[in-house]
């Protein structure tokens, strides 16, 4: 049993280093959901494929853009957006759902945040394979710029972890936050270039691209399209990440022992 520690950082770390526990829990979250289906977790891939095949031609026609240019953009947009929202919404309930564990013994909350993050990463892996045939079909060439995806995903994971920790604590205390977050995310989807191209935005409206999720989407999607994200994006994310970590660390340090009283 991972021990709860006097300092917030060692508490966080004792949960983090227990990789076997949270990876196993995340794995069973996925496996058990599909246990009695024939395709199993492949359903994740299939259902995402159906959505993409349905929406690709439709929106390419609506936006009057060539399919070969639009389809890779849309595929990555939907897949990564789905990853962000699923992780953030899971983050809201991460500690509430861990209540039986937290009430029975000393447990660092970080275990359950990692469990949620790992579960969503497994889902992302099942979705992202769909991009391979899309990229081949659209003729996207391999380029060294694609390696920028690695720092991109690292920054995304750090931010999603911090957000889940913050939201997990906030939502345990204020149950309205969960609803607030999920409705904000719905609105945010339309304000983020998930479907549309950022270039099609008139100059005076460009400011809406400075929402953190749009910036995170850029550092994941652009490298895989063979394009390097703008320098401003990295700088923006550097500030946002710092802020995010400070917020999560402060909340965790101050409130982690109280959370169990709110569950």
């Amino acid at each position: 049993m991972p021990e709860r520690h006097a300092s917030a950082s060692s508490d966080w770390w004792s949960g983090t280093k227990n990789t076997d526990l949270w990876l196993t829990l995340a794995w069973y979250d996925i496996v058990l959901r599909y246990r009695r289906s024939v395709l199993g977790p492949l359903w994740l891939t299939v259902s995402m494929g159906i959505i993409l095949l349905g929406m690709g031609p439709l929106y390419a026609t609506l936006f009057k853009v060539p399919m070969s240019q639009f389809f890779p953009h849309l595929t990555l947009g939907i897949i990564f957006w789905n990853f962000f929202t699923a992780t953030i919404i899971d983050g809201c309930s991460v500690l509430i759902q861990a209540a039986p564990y937290l009430k029975q013994m000393e447990f660092p909350g970080s275990v359950f945040v990692w469990r949620s993050l790992a579960r969503n990463l497994i889902q992302l892996a099942h979705h992202i394979v769909l991009y391979i045939p899309v990229a081949l079909w659209a003729g996207i060439a391999l380029s060294p710029r694609m390696l920028l995806f690695l720092p991109g995903i690292a920054i995304s994971l750090v931010n999603l972890h911090a957000m889940s920790l913050t939201l997990g604590i906030l939502c345990a205390r204020f149950r309205d936050v969960t609803q607030l977050v999920s409705s904000s995310l719905q609105l945010l989807m339309f304000l983020t270039p998930v479907f549309w191209f950022p270039d099609s935005l008139p100059e005076r409206s460009k400011f809406i691209l400075y929402n953190p999720l749009a910036q995170l989407l850029d550092v994941l999607r652009l490298p895989l399209l063979g394009v390097a994200p703008a320098r401003g994006t990295w700088i923006f994310l550097l500030f946002f990440t710092t802020l995010n970590i400070c917020l999560a660390a402060t909340l965790y340090a101050v409130k982690r022992r109280q959370v169990v009283y709110w569950l």
Binding site: T24, Q104, R173, V260, Y261
Partner: protein, 250 residues
């Protein structure tokens, strides 16, 4: 060397969203539950009030009290799950808590998979779990059912599995709620010897029960809780050794 110390510890739950009405105040005088009061507009349930306790190796504490008197809350506090809102909590030694046997049990996973999951939750390594699995399987007596999803089990079978896993690790401090009385006669006899084994090894046993008889037989200390207040801790004389025959009599 195991030690458990509570020093003037209180546990108070803020109840959000429960608008305190006059009805709530009358509830404070009810026969069950802890004491309800209000601080700055938030309803507060005082589950434990000013409890001081010191347990050392060889102490076997029985907790008695009415429904909602704080028995389970006290066990959870002793396990370290609730950090007391006031007062101090100090622990030396590892804890195995059998407060809720269902924690970490996945209904759709098989018995064997649940052994792995619960083993990891209790802090065992995969290698250790592999070594312990045959022993747990044998002790549970579930045989081929272990390859079936747990939702096909009866509550008694589920308890066998949970008990087998939870008692397979050796801890210095053992915390138990009364749920152990679920098993059938055959399993109870089987479990008795296991329990005795654990109690002789575990430095400290804390057992919450509604059966004063059971506690008088198995424990050498008694704590009576009433609305979250300890009505004195006293040493029991005569029950100096654990008697397996009577462990499940209550």
């Amino acid at each position: 060397m195991a030690r458990l110390i509570l020093d003037h510890a209180s546990v108070e739950f803020p109840i959000f969203g429960a608008r305190s009405s006059s009805l709530k105040f009358t509830l404070a005088a009810a026969a069950t539950g802890g004491r309800i009061s209000r601080h700055s507009g938030v309803t507060v349930v005082q589950a434990l009030h000013d409890i001081s306790l010191e347990l050392r190796d060889g102490d076997r504490l029985g907790i008695v009290g009415h429904n909602g008197s704080g028995k389970t809350t006290l066990l959870r506090t002793l396990a370290g799950a609730y950090v007391p809102t006031r007062g101090k909590y100090l622990r030396e030694g590892t804890v195995s808590s059998l407060i809720d046997p269902m924690v970490g049990i996945e209904a759709d996973a098989t018995g064997y998979e649940n052994i792995t999951i619960r083993g990891l939750i209790l802090g065992l390594s995969r290698q250790k779990i592999r070594l312990l699995t045959p022993e747990i399987a044998e002790f549970s007596g579930l045989g081929e059912y272990l390859s079936m999803p747990v939702h096909t089990y009866s509550s008694g079978m589920m308890m066998r599995l949970a008990f087998a896993i939870a008692t397979s690790i050796r801890a210095d401090i053992l915390l138990m709620d009364e749920w152990l009385s679920v098993g059938d006669a055959g399993f109870q006899r089987h479990a008795e010897s296991r329990l005795q084994d654990i109690v002789t090894n575990a430095g400290i046993l804390v057992l919450a029960s509604h059966s004063p008889g059971l506690i008088e037989r198995e424990c050498n200390m008694l704590l009576e809780l009433d609305h979250g207040i300890a009505r004195g801790v006293r040493r029991l004389t005569g029950a100096s050794s654990f008697s397996p025959e009577s462990a499940f009599a209550g």
